[in-house]
C-alpha cells in the first residue's frame, strides 16, 4: 500500500509543472478553519497547506488552486497539474484542480 502524498511535497512538484505561476491556498483562512471543524465532525483528516489532501471514509481527495501563466494555454497547464497529482496519488483518489488566475 502506498503512502498518501503530503501537501508540501505535492505543492513543490506542482510549482515545477510547466505553466504554473503560483499555488494558492484552497480556501481563505476562515474557510479553512470551518473545513477543519467540519472534518472533526465527519471524522475526516485534512492536511492543510497549499495543496489540500482530504481523507474521508469515502476515499481521498486532493485539491489544488493554481495561477497559470498566460504564456501557455491555461487549460493545458491545468491538465498537466491534474496528471501530476494523479501520478502521486493512490488509486481511486479524486483530484480537483481549479485555475483561479491567469497572469
Amino acid at each position: 500500500m502506498s503512502i498518501p502524498p503530503e501537501s508540501s511535497s505535492l505543492a513543490a512538484q506542482l510549482l515545477a509543472v510547466s505553466g504554473v505561476a503560483e499555488i494558492f491556498p484552497p480556501s481563505s483562512p476562515i474557510a479553512q478553519l470551518s473545513t477543519l471543524a467540519a472534518g472533526v465532525l465527519t471524522r475526516s483528516t485534512i492536511r492543510a497547506g497549499l495543496v489540500e489532501v482530504t481523507h474521508t471514509p469515502g476515499g481521498t481527495r486532493i485539491t489544488a488552486k493554481i495561477a497559470a501563466t498566460a504564456a501557455q494555454p491555461a487549460r493545458e497547464t491545468g491538465r498537466r497539474v491534474a496528471d501530476a497529482l494523479l501520478a502521486e496519488a493512490e488509486p481511486g483518489t479524486a483530484v480537483t484542480v481549479q485555475i483561479v488566475r491567469i497572469s
Partner: protein, 199 residues
C-alpha cells in the same frame, strides 16, 4: 483614487477596494500575505494599477482638453473591477480521467479579458459578462464586454481588434464554446500622453 462610500466594493475574500487601493498606493508594503496570497486581490490590484496609471495620464492631460471625463467614470471602473474579479462560477475544462475535476473560475476568465483589453492602446474595459450555461461543457456562451475607447479612434476598428483578441484568448485558455463576443462602446476618454500624435 476616490471610491464612493456606497459602491459595493468588498470582494468575496472580505478585502475592500479601499484597502487594496491603499496597499497599492503604499507600494504593496509592508507585505500583506492575505492580499498577496489571494487570487481575487491580485486580479483587483492589476485592475487598480491600470486605472491608477490611466488616472495619472488623464490628470496630466487635463489642461487644454475639452473632454474631461466625469469623476464617476473612474469610480465606475473601480466598482466594476470589484465585481468582475469575484470568483463566480467554475467553468469546466476537459480531462479524460473521470476522477479529475478541472475548472477555471469565471473571475479568472473575466480578469483575463480585462488584461487583453488593457493591452490594446485606446481601450479601457468597463465590464465583462459571460452569458449562458458556462458550467456545462459544450454549452454555447456569449461574452459581452463594455468598454470605453480613445477619443478620435475608430470605434469599429478598436471593437474588431478587441473582439478578435478576446476570442483568441478564450480559445487558447478555456474550453468555453464562445458563439459571440459582443462589444459595447459606452464611453469615450481622452488621449494619453503616449498615444498623442506629436504632430
Amino acid at each position: 483614487m476616490a471610491v464612493t462610500e456606497n459602491a459595493p466594493t468588498t470582494l468575496d475574500c472580505g478585502k475592500t477596494i479601499e484597502e487594496l487601493s491603499a496597499y497599492l498606493a503604499a507600494g504593496r508594503t509592508p507585505p500583506d500575505p492575505d492580499i498577496d496570497r489571494c487570487p481575487e486581490c491580485l486580479s483587483a490590484l492589476d485592475g487598480l494599477d491600470h486605472v491608477a496609471q490611466l488616472s495619472r495620464e488623464l490628470i496630466i492631460r487635463d489642461i487644454g482638453l475639452q473632454l474631461a471625463p466625469p469623476e464617476s467614470w473612474i469610480t465606475t471602473i473601480i466598482t466594476n473591477i470589484a465585481q468582475d474579479v469575484r470568483s463566480g462560477r467554475s467553468l469546466p475544462l476537459r480531462h479524460d480521467n473521470p476522477a479529475v475535476t478541472l475548472s477555471v473560475t469565471e473571475g479568472a476568465v473575466r480578469a483575463l479579458v480585462w488584461s487583453v483589453g488593457d493591452a490594446i492602446d485606446g481601450v479601457v474595459i468597463g465590464r465583462c459578462r459571460i452569458d449562458g450555461d458556462a458550467e456545462t461543457l459544450d454549452a454555447p456562451v456569449q461574452v459581452t464586454i463594455t468598454a470605453s475607447i480613445l477619443w478620435g479612434r475608430s470605434p469599429q476598428d478598436l471593437s474588431e481588434l478587441l473582439r478578435s483578441r478576446v476570442h483568441e484568448a478564450l480559445r487558447k485558455h478555456t474550453d468555453l464554446l464562445v458563439t459571440a463576443v459582443n462589444i459595447v462602446i459606452d464611453d469615450l476618454h481622452k488621449a494619453s500622453p503616449e498615444s498623442e500624435d506629436p504632430a
